[in-house]
């Protein structure tokens, strides 16, 4: 079967010593930053991106992906032990995970979180391998009009489903598109918004923007929060879940994986939404819902599987369509571009080692996390005692060196400082910067496809509704916008996205 040939080929790539090493480094760094509040996968991937320029693209992508799903594991560890979600995806895990820890059942909670995540990771690896090729085949038939409406749909969906106000998120997408315009226009050679600065002729650097907004802006924002956090760690005794724990968790893990995979391919939904949805489902299905919030293992197993499934399935639209469904995926897409790989459906056929190697590495990485995390829990919790006042200067050093090393340019560092200020302002004003990054990455492609579509149709805009594929995307876009404006959906959305 072709599926297994592909996977075997992928495992061949991923099992090279070098790639295994990068995978290990990735998941370890990911767990580390997942454990530490105040720094997320977004900032970490942005600042480590330049360091991967020297390694082959496969290894770079394997490591960056490892950071991403490793962070989900790390976030749940602190949620269970300390009632402190290291990542937003682990907020739900606090509810029952911490209660379990207080009852002396931290070990089983951690174990079931790891087992659930591993199960979800395995299923999603298979899903990517199964649905990747047909989706890419379909995408190869898209023309520029289809691509334009597909991206439009992705951006609108991301803005509507993102945290915060819909219209503000849409505005931030436009802001990102506008920032993406800066530089030389590929078509006419005209310099746009360069303000006469030669440094801006090639546009705003991807790393500059991402590090500025998501590392510097975030730190400025954090430094405004009063007080150092207090850490009370519970001790872990007895890791293994009982037979009853396992029977209770089986259903939630399977359902959580399904829920996570569904939300995963939707643009704009973070793992937090998937884990919240899974929690609600389990609570509703439970024979005795009052157990939830008092240490029900189902409340850990479901959401933990869901957030990992979501994180992994986010790779499906990115790898097959070149469409990033979240800000982290936008970073991955940027990483691909920087490595000279044009994202899109042709990646799978032209660079099969990249696609299948990455897919296989995700399964290996999940296995590493399962085996490594439980013995290393003591180390992770002791790291939490490092105070933020020592941590953030180190983050600054990595961020600034990352930005500088791309072009050895001081100008880039100044620009990143400016984006740090802007990022802080955006966060304060409730303008979520994540949709901005999506707009920034997709901006140039959006403009190019719009231009090509209109040239091909001799300037007739009806091309977007006469082609069936394009019409479907456009209809879905309109549907999403209408749904977002309906009051009942709005209220329900406010509950889910918090």
């Amino acid at each position: 079967m072709a599926l297994f040939d592909h996977l075997i080929f992928g495992f061949g790539v991923a099992f090279s010593l070098e790639n295994l090493l990068y995978c290990l480094v990735g998941v370890l760094v990911g767990t580390l930053i997942g454990v530490l509040p105040g720094i997320g996968p977004l900032a970490t991937i942005a600042m480590l991106l330049p360091l991967t320029f020297t390694v082959p693209p496969v290894a770079a992508l394997i490591m960056l992906a490892g950071i991403y799903y490793g962070a989900q594991y790390g976030g749940s560890t602190t949620a269970i032990l300390m009632n402190l979600p290291g990542e937003t995806s682990a907020v739900v895990t606090c509810l029952d995970g911490y209660q379990m820890a207080r009852q002396g059942r931290a070990g089983p909670a951690l174990a079931i979180a790891a087992i659930g995540s591993f199960f979800a990771g395995t299923v999603c690896t298979l899903l990517i391998a199964l649905f990747g090729p047909p989706l890419a085949d379909l995408a190869l038939r898209f023309n520029s009009a289809d691509y334009f409406t597909l991206m439009l749909m992705g951006l609108v969906a991301a803005a509507v489903l993102a945290r915060g106000d819909t219209s503000t998120s849409l505005a931030m997408v436009v802001m990102g598109l506008l920032l993406g315009v800066v530089g030389t226009d590929v078509n006419s050679g005209a310099r746009r918004f360069t303000l006469g600065l030669t440094e801006l002729i090639d546009g705003i650097g991807f790393v500059v923007l991402a590090v500025g907004v998501f590392a510097v802006g975030e730190i400025v924002s954090n430094l405004g929060e009063p007080g150092e956090r207090q850490v009370f760690a519970s001790t872990v005794t007895g890791l293994f879940p009982t037979r009853a724990d396992l029977t209770r968790s089986f259903g939630p893990i399977v359902r959580g994986t399904g829920i996570g995979a569904f939300f995963g391919v939707l643009p704009g939904t973070g793992p937090a939404i998937a884990s919240f949805a899974s929690y609600m489902v389990e609570k509703r299905l439970a024979r005795d819902p009052s157990r939830f919030g008092r240490g029900a293992i189902e409340g850990v197993a479901g959401p933990e599987s869901a957030n990992n499934a979501d994180a992994q399935c986010k790779f499906i639209p990115m790898l097959t369509l070149g469409l990033p469904a979240s800000a982290v995926m936008a970073l991955m897409l940027g990483a691909l571009t920087i490595h000279g790989v044009a994202p899109g459906p042709q990646v799978m056929t032209q660079r099969p080692e990249l696609f299948w190697g990455l897919v296989a590495s995700m399964w290996i990485g999940n296995l590493m996390l399962l085996l490594l995390n439980l013995p290393l829990i003591g180390l992770w919790t002791s790291l939490l005692r490092v105070p933020y006042r020592l941590l953030f200067p180190a983050i600054m050093v990595f961020s600034v060196l990352g930005v500088y090393s791309v072009n050895n340019s001081s100008f880039d560092v100044y620009l990143a400082a400016l984006f740090g200020v802007l990022g802080f302002v955006w966060i304060r004003l409730g303008c979520s910067p994540a949709p901005m990054l999506l707009g920034f990455v997709l901006g140039p492609m959006l403009e190019e496809n719009l231009r090509r579509a209109l040239v091909a149709s001799r300037g007739d805009p009806s091309v977007f509704v006469t082609r069936p594929i394009s019409l479907v995307f456009l209809a879905v876009t309109v549907l999403i916008l209408v749904a977002a404006a309906v009051p009942t959906v709005r209220r329900r959305r406010a509950v889910i996205t918090g």
Partner: protein, 147 residues
């Protein structure tokens, strides 16, 4: 009006960006739909930003949500300044002074500042950066250079 009205400020920010972009983009030929000039796409985007900005101002006046939480003016000024200092020193004085200044500057942006701890941190982080970036990754930066 409430001076901390969040959406009004967000709207004004969007409006200002949109208007500025529109003014600059007016200098680029727009072309037609058949042959889009370099000014076509930016104008559409700037127009959209202006609309979103107006919408946010109106919502803000109706909804009156406030900007919550505390912030640190010190961090907002000192942290970006330490990055600028890094850039200048990197060109004039070399890697070691630039990193040291960045760490000192960052630490100075924080809330709790303990002198001995900051000096120790500066030493450790500078040494670590030299080891990782210059020796380990072989980035071609002179450790110290003359004026």
């Amino acid at each position: 009006m409430d001076a901390r009205n969040r959406d009004v400020w967000a709207g004004l920010m969007l409006l200002a960006t949109g208007v500025a972009a529109m003014l600059v983009a007016r200098g680029y030929p727009a072309g037609s739909a058949l042959r889009m000039g370099p000014g076509y796409f930016p104008r559409v985007l700037a127009g959209l930003l202006i609309l979103f900005g107006l919408h946010a101002v109106v919502t803000g006046l109706r909804r009156r949500e406030r900007i919550e939480g505390s912030w640190s003016p010190r961090a907002l000024i000192v942290l970006p300044l330490s990055m600028v200092l890094f850039g200048v020193l990197m060109e004039r004085a070399g890697f070691v002074p630039a990193i040291a200044a960045l760490v000192l500057g960052s630490a100075a942006a924080g809330r709790q500042r303990r002198l001995v701890e900051i000096l120790l941190l500066t030493g450790v982080l500078t040494a670590a950066s030299v080891a990782i970036f210059v020796w380990g990754l072989g980035l071609p930066y002179p450790l110290v250079k003359g004026p």
